[in-house]
């Protein structure tokens, strides 16, 4: 049990131009998605996923106070995020790299354990 004082440390980013570049990248990233999502039009259906997308939730004080407005807004924002399809493709690559859930070596679909019951034939359609 020891306590480290919050010492003033020298910044990890030492170069002046590096600092400028990092701040610029960050600001561009944040403002890009912020602005695009502000002016992007709302899609109703995702062709890619073959499902209807969440629409902007109705605002009401009740929904705000029971917290459901925020939850629904989160879902809506994620569903309507700019360049959603491109980002989903990227996500699939990451998934393949870290969990390879989409397909096995022999092209067979491999499920997580949660879905294992299907193999046992209990809930197979």
């Amino acid at each position: 049990m020891a306590k480290k004082p919050a010492a003033k440390k020298r910044p990890v980013v030492t170069g002046k131009y590096a600092a400028l570049a990092i701040c610029l990248v960050f600001v561009l990233f944040l403002s890009f998605f912020f602005l695009v999502s502000l002016f992007d039009r709302t899609e109703e259906v995702s062709q890619k996923e073959n499902r209807s997308l969440k629409q902007r939730p109705k605002f009401s004080m009740k929904a705000v106070f029971d917290g459901s407005y925020h939850t629904e807004y989160d879902e809506y924002y994620t569903d309507q995020f700019p360049f959603r399809d491109k980002l989903l493709d990227l996500n699939t690559h990451i998934q393949d790299l870290f969990s390879q859930k989409s397909s096995g070596d022999d092209g067979m679909v491999i499920y997580d354990k949660g879905d294992k019951d299907d193999f046992a034939g209990q809930s197979i359609d």
Binding site: V12, G67, Y73, T78, S99, K101, D112, K113
Partner: protein, 468 residues
Amino acid sequence: MVFSSLTFLYIFLPLCLLAYYLAKNIKIKNIVLLAFSLVFYAVGEPKYIFLMVLTVLVDYVGGILIDRYRRTGLAKLCLGITAAITLGFLAVFKYAGFFTENVNSLFNISLTVPGLSLPVGISFYTFQALTYVIDVYRGKVPVQKSFYKLLLYVSMFPQLIAGPIVRYSEVDKQLSERTVTLNAAASGILRFSIGLIKKTVVANYAGKLCGAMLGDSLAGTSSVGAFVGLLAYTIQIYFDFSAYSDMAIGLGKMFGFDFPENFNYPYVADSVNDFWKRWHMTLSGFFKDYVYIPLGGNRRRWAFNMLLVWMLTGFWHGASWNYIVWGLYYFVFLMLEKLYIGERLAKLNPVIKHLYTLAVVMLGWAFFYFEDMSRLRLFFKDIFFKNGFLSLTDKTIIANYLLLLLVGIVFSMPVAKFVRGLCFRFSRKQAGKIAVGVLQTVTVAFCLLISTACLVGDSYNPFLYFRF
């Protein structure tokens, strides 16, 4: 609200940074930060925001009274009352359900169990508020006359919900005077981005692996499967929690604050004692300086003090018996090291020391993970070959998550520290400086892009420490 959400990253944060940097002086900056912090808390917990403000109000008044009656008996009384009320809120909102359930089963009666949901961050902000009144009483910090500054200290959104537990004395001066340099802001951005990817990639995928092995039904998990599940949890909890601290510290830097470090590569500890100097350092520091030492520390009844501190440390993590068991488990090992095996351990081969520590820590996470004791028993049966050594399903799952396990293990070691050292060395020469700058910039862009993709594609991302 959580850091690892698109609404935080691309709505809340840009607006907050914009308003903050447009603000002319420190007073307006403080008000901007306070307003955004309250919104940050309110969108997740609309009702409990009043509880938080009330807690701060109690401690604000308490601080002023303690200061007024300094050096009289009344000061101590004021401290006692303030601390009792502050802790009382925590007791009611976090532990009332647990206490009534246990009283019910003990005396075989049926009092109504209060169905209060846990206010997010209450365990953290309660402790922060306490450091203020206690340090005012001790004369370590001047009393804070301005309510909104104290409220800002407690509610500041970077550290509000899951630490680090920042002591008032650490930010007292920064509340009235702070500057942000370009390099500090850039370092904060780098830190934040790395924290974000640690959470969205490593912690979340480790969580999935852990869920696959130790989730719903433990029936059928093979020995190796159970072990890998526990390993995945070991990775998840570290990356999840330290990622949160990284993001908090990084955000703090963007606003000119210096928050204390919370983790120092805990899994390379070479004794259990060493582990607790590296894991959640602001929590163990709090218990040391505000509980253990006031109780008498090493001088008086130290064994009892240790027992109490570790029971409380466990209990702080959750209103359930398994956390108390987890705390006592560490008490046992710390006592063992201190009294019997410490000196012998120090002489051993480093490999054995590290293996011993890791084994203790991982087994500890089993107590931590299973809130339900019957499931813990099932887990132990699984790990001791109830369902065979390694089943085909488990083998496939492990093979799929191999890269994740590798990344988790490698980056639990001080790789980042090593790279940081290299960067400093290279930065002395002009060419090296440029290379390092490019590397850092690319890292930020890479982390943000990958994390955004993960957040768009994935709904699974709870912060573990939200429960505490």
